[in-house]
Symmetry: C2
């Protein structure tokens, strides 16, 4: 154990194991998670640090081999429960992407949700056994967010009872699907369905793309890797172009919509449930934000405890950089944010499960709010995490820039979360649509419920947003409840401003849509304030539920820091509408400094409680054994540039010299 | 030419060529820059896009070869003037890092500044001709910012008249120097000098590290590459460990300090001039921020003009994404920032040259302020640019994540600027030290001059920072001058708050140093506000100098947008101290929207005026020829993953299947 970290741990005010149990949900969950994690922790194939020394092609090959090991171990140890699979996979997936992942996360679930019993019988067994390796091909080179814009066509030919698939333009080429480039032999393709001369919109088709046995692309199929990216080196994100490529009628997934042999289209009864899948994925991504941020904080805080630099008092030994106020101010608000997002992630998971059960009983009433909340929180948490990971990296100085820190990989693996499964700005505008609808409902005299119920307090007679000021408020900056109220007032005010501005634009513009576009800055701002309020509220509520005094005390400090830091960073929003006064803002800034000092002795224990094993961090800097600098030197010596013959590079240098 | 871009160019309100001339300083500068750029533009070796397909070792080799081509061409075309070398190098260096770069940028200049005439005679010729390839080894594994903490020792042995160099600990191993890993055969090593039993602090020594002819590390030298990093793949950043390694006495650079043959130490007369080198490098980095941000904006704005997505009005064709207000709000403030930084970079260059001339005449009076200003502006512009490049990348959606966009490379090459040549937080605190000194000076009744002269207006009798409120002010949000005043008031207020808080801490704490640390959040905030004011001021002044009406009009809009956006983002600072009122902040937000609409028709022309040639962007998305999607498809097909045999990856998949 590193002596600096040992000293830090000895000085903590609480037992991190108890906090780990809170994060896992129970001591039993912690025990079982560790049991599963330990199955692979000692396997040298899962050392992420060394992936950095490989070329992309090598990383792809390693990833395919890892998939094999993983599938084997899961079978061997009887891991079949979805939550357990998640623990097992999350352990190594955060820094490691699986080329066959989409077969399990998208191909099989889509087959189950949208395939008929006959279709499931035909394809499910072989896809579970990876004879069929499937992926999910929706996004096109020219079309992402806007599904109606997708150009791929599937035209039914009743003569042969086949669909003819075409990629009519360069922009219609399928682009990005994971595992498509080299790994998959089948894809579920989303295409515009044409039958009897009419277009019926997007439908899903099972399309064989490579020959079983030889793995060669089938005639009519052009398929390959889309090239190097910022990250996801292990993933063969691919392209797919189809030219008059025929598949049997039975390859259209027909659980809901159907095309009869004669070409008659039968439309689906209900589309709402596909809604549910998006909600699931986005609520899962909130937890992924928490996890990535927690990892980044773990590395940066441990390194800051180990790194000694410069001087505070002349003549004294170099202090740990964690003792600098500026370093605390960089890291502790992010640590508080990581805890906030952990609890929001857990809430989203619970809520999804509860509402999913309601849906099972036919009750869809809470789905619209859940949809709006997951969209907004996916965007809010991923944007924050994205910036925060880089802040953690830069807080590690020069070493943060080296792959030894593990932080560049965490960043490049995380950052697509801001774009995929709904681009963040689009997500914020979806939340805004729900907020505007709720606002209109209140305005027309009906009450709204759930997280937006604060809108009920907006007196309907008011015209000027400034008048929110008349609400009686006296913020107590030491009370999480009172701060939650302040965030609520801010959200209410910004929702009202957006609504008023939207109304003004509607009066002056040719269409509601143009007015919406011209108000979208305000709408995004309102959604952000709403999400910020939800996070503060959930964190505050969670702290109150904790029984153990020492844990409650430390979480309360983090909750206060999270809330006060947000106020300090957005002081204008809290001053406007007189939610807070100038002197309160000054007090907030002073209180933040006190909290940094109060959290300092617990910082290492707080990241220890996230309970990442060294190996899962993929980081030399975040390891807690021995001397971090010796580890670093050992790591550097493995650099491939050190292995190449000295004369090889010298050859070039010689030629350089000869030209002078 | 891409039809969307052609349409955009036709609709611009000004001729971009005239704006290019403003950025270059004169039409003649533009002409000569292009002449130099064209020397290498058509050389296929300088296509950055395709570097993405290579492994790190391959990239290193290509980089060494490129150095050869570059040196050859510079000789051939007689490029010898420093400014011309800069143009020539900047053209390809922003996305490309040179392993022999430090020989020219650090080794030779240090030899010239700190070497005696005899030393220059001995080493200069062979280092110019690359027989000696030198680097500069200062940073150690455990020591960056804090120079006094460096551990490498050079102990003089009068018996043999040699220095004995040692790396006594693992933390003392030299770490990071560019070109050290494989390329260099000499290094200027910074070490603590010991002679006659006493330590005299850091001095510079010329240390041979590899044998001329064989390029093998010399006995006593352990040298190699520090491993893969976030970026700088082409650069062999290295480590160096020395064990009782002896060099002749004459290898200590002795222009200033000396060690006599008997070991007597002779101290230097004046140390202030090393100060000047740092100032030069940091002022150069301000220009580099401008350049990197301009590139990122060029790519993101061009792509946003070409990309059509979703719908504003139902039924109409998909609009260019540049027509979405949220996209404009993401990009146009960054475009305005790029222009602001271009002008600040030019100002820093001029100021450096002017003050350097003064220094030549023995006048050092302006050096402290210049030092404070370059430190702060290096940090301010690099932090802003760092965030902004990522914002540009994410504004390109999924394609921004692909190396086809060129943006990931711009980011990973730029981001070390926040850390090297003075870590940004440390830089901000250096600026703060100057601000506090100036504040104290005003407080003690003396006037200060230069950029901090606004502190003279702080009436000395006031005690409470809030009382800044009594300054008469009526901000006109349509006047750049008036907005500059507002930024000035904000800076004055935050400097005063930091100074008062520092005073309070000094009273309560055991030492000034502890008090400084406990005020450092406020100090950084004050420095940021000071730098922000300087940028607004310089941009505003530049706009007034422009004669050509159409250019002045468009730059005035950008200047307003830059200033108003900063107010909107920091509204709390402007509301506190009553610099502005709530209703003014509301007006600011409205005015920003109007400016976005006004800038929209000129957006493409504004990035065209930066005059990056396609090839220098290293980007498929930023190219303006033909169809961006066809270019993208052609690029993707070159992915190495597509070249490897299909059966190679299939072998792994087969083994995966067999395990199920």
């Amino acid at each position: 154990m590193n002596p600096d970290l040992q000293k830090e741990r000895a000085g903590a005010s609480f037992n991190p194991e108890l906090l780990t149990n809170v994060l896992d949900g129970s001591p039993e969950n912690t025990r079982r998670r560790r049991e599963i994690e330990n199955l692979i922790l000692n396997d040298p194939d899962f050392q992420h640090e060394n992936l950095n020394f490989l070329s992309r092609s090598q990383r792809y090959e390693v990833a395919v081999k890892k998939s094999a090991v993983m599938v084997q171990k899961m079978r061997k140890f009887g891991i079949a429960d979805p939550a357990e699979i998640m623990w097992f996979k999350k352990l190594h997936l955060v820094n490691f992407v699986e080329p066959v992942g989409l077969n399990y996360s998208m191909f099989i679930p889509t087959l189950l949700n949208q395939g008929t019993t006959a279709q499931q019988e035909k394809w499910l067994h072989s896809s579970k056994g990876l004879e069929i390796i499937g992926t999910y091909a929706q996004t096109e080179m020219g079309h992402g967010t806007h599904l109606r814009g997708l150009e791929t066509t599937a035209t039914y030919d009743p003569e042969t009872q086949e669909f003819i698939l075409n990629s009519p333009t360069v922009t219609s080429i399928k682009w990005w699907p994971g595992g498509l480039g080299k790994t998959s032999n089948h894809a579920i393709v989303l295409a515009q369905l044409f039958t009897q001369g009419k277009c019926y919109g997007l439908h899903a088709f099972i399309v064989p793309i490579r020959e079983l046995g030889t793995h060669k692309p089938l005639p009519g199929i052009t398929v390959g890797d889309i090239g190097p990216k910022f990250g996801y080196d292990e993933m063969d994100n691919g392209y797919l172009k189809m030219d008059n490529y025929r598949i049997p009628r039975e390859n259209m997934l027909m659980k809901h919509a159907q095309v009869k042999p004669d070409g008659t289209y039968v439309k689906p009864l209900n589309n709402k449930l596909t809604y549910g899948t998006m909600v699931f994925i986005r609520s899962f991504l909130v937890g992924e934000s928490a996890r990535s941020l927690s990892k980044a904080c773990t590395i940066a805080v441990r390194y800051s405890a180990v790194r000694h630099q410069s001087e505070i008092n002349p003549g004294e030994p170099e202090p740990q950089i964690l003792d600098y106020q500026t370093q605390q101010y960089k890291l502790f608000p992010l640590l508080a944010t990581a805890y906030a997002f952990q609890f929001v992630g857990a809430y989203m998971k619970e809520t999804y499960l509860r509402i999913n059960e309601d849906i099972g009983h036919g009750d869809l009433s809470e789905l619209p709010e859940l949809h709006a909340l997951t969209a907004g929180l996916k965007a809010f948490t991923s944007w924050t995490t994205n910036t925060a990971i880089e802040a953690c990296r830069m807080a590690c100085g020069g070493h943060g820039y080296s792959h030894c820190s593990g932080l560049p990989n965490i960043y490049v693996t995380f950052t697509p979360t801001c774009t995929f499964e709904g681009e963040n700005t689009v997500m914020m505008l979806q939340t805004a649509r729900f907020l505007m609808k709720s606002y209109d409902q209140v305005h027309s005299g009906k009450l709204v419920c759930g997280m937006v119920s604060y809108l009920n307090d907006l007196p309907s007679q008011r015209i000027q947003p400034q008048q929110v000021a008349v609400w009686p408020t006296m913020v107590d900056i030491n009370s999480p409840d009172s701060l939650t109220e302040a965030y609520k007032l801010r959200a209410a005010r910004l929702v009202e401003i957006a609504a008023k501005n939207l109304q003004t634009e509607v009066i002056h513009r040719k269409s509601k849509e143009v007015a919406w576009n011209l108000t979208s800055i305000d709408l995004v701002r309102a959604s952000e304030a709403h999400c910020h309020y939800v996070v503060v509220k959930l964190f505050t509520e969670k702290v109150l539920q904790i029984q153990e005094k020492s844990i409650q005390a430390v979480l309360r400090r983090l909750c206060l820091l999270y809330s006060l830091y947000g106020i300090s960073q957005n002081a204008g929003d809290f001053l406007q509408g007189s939610i807070m006064t100038e002197s309160q803002i000054t007090q907030v800034n002073g209180r933040i400094k006190e909290l940094l000092t109060a959290i300092r002795p617990d910082a290492v224990a707080l990241v220890d409680a996230f309970d990442f094993q060294d190996v899962t961090l993929g980081s030399v800097l975040g390891r807690y054994d021995g001397n971090v600098y010796e580890n670093l030197f050992e790591w550097a010596k493995k650099s491939p540039l050190n292995k190449t013959e000295v004369h090889e590079s010298y050859k070039h240098l010689k030629s350089l010299q000869s030209k002078l």
